[in-house]
């Protein structure tokens, strides 16, 4: 089961990378961009009997290690 864990800084936490990318996009002329947040996607290939179990496992992994709950949010996405 392929599962993606998407990790982003929480809304209240300043994302300096996002700001830098926003400035670069504005320099290129993409003036319509109002905000950029840079996160990371962690792709997992999980051996599980069904989708629910795979999601549950990915949740545990995200809480334990993949995201830092002090500063980051995560969402889990089933790829296939």
């Amino acid at each position: 089961m392929k599962i993606a864990v998407n990790v982003h800084l929480k809304a209240g936490v300043l994302d300096p990378q996002g700001k830098a990318v926003l400035h670069a996009l504005h320099t290129l002329g993409f003036k319509e961009v109002e905000d950029v947040r840079v996160g990371k996607q962690i792709l997992l290939n999980i051996n599980a009997k069904d989708k629910e179990e795979a999601i549950k496992k990915a949740e545990e992994m995200a809480k334990e290690l993949l995201a830092n709950p002090v500063i980051e949010n995560y969402e889990i996405e089933v790829k296939e």
Binding site: L9, V13, L14, P16, Q17, L65, N68, V70
Partner: protein
Amino acid sequence: MRVGVVVFPGTNCDRDTKWAFERIGAKADFIWHNEKNLHKKYDLIVLPGGFSYGDYLRSGAIARFSPIMNAVKEYAKKGGFVLGICNGFQILLESHLLPGAMTRNENLHFISKFHHLKVINNNNKFLQKFNEGDIINIPIAHAEGNYKIDEETLKEMYDNEQILLQYCDENGHYLNPNGSIDAIAGICNKEKNVFGLMPHPERAMSDILGGSDGIKMLEGFIS
């Protein structure tokens, strides 16, 4: 006084740290991260600076799972003194031995320079040789020193005297190099036996190399 300096793959301030403690009269050993136990009786365990596990995922996030960290946690739980410098501080945060988290410096740069710090609280072993309000000069060298903590915990930390050092200018006025909340540079836990700071006291041990304010910091653990 015996100090254990933990070495992770990617640690690069281990030798400076060992030397610094020896310079003030302590005995110091390296402890490899794969060790499961502390084999000697230590007065202080130091997690030195560097880039443990290449800073993969988040700084300090992988080092937390090194075998030695279980022993360090046990040691801290029993009241043993632990000091995390720079990446060592990040490891203590990721290990939940200290509250909060680090993010990238606000200006995205790796900052490497001497920086002034103000002693906010000296009611602890680490800073006992200083007076509150003292301005000291210690090098910083980090890309992720932007300390974050929720408002509620931050207030508790002030109440419990856990906020120890703040970045400032040479006159003690607010100057924040990396965007840390309240320009925080160093903290401790509630029990005041686990300390973390981003600046490098082991690099401020000699006036001909720019400053010696680090000596008084490390000496706090000796007396």
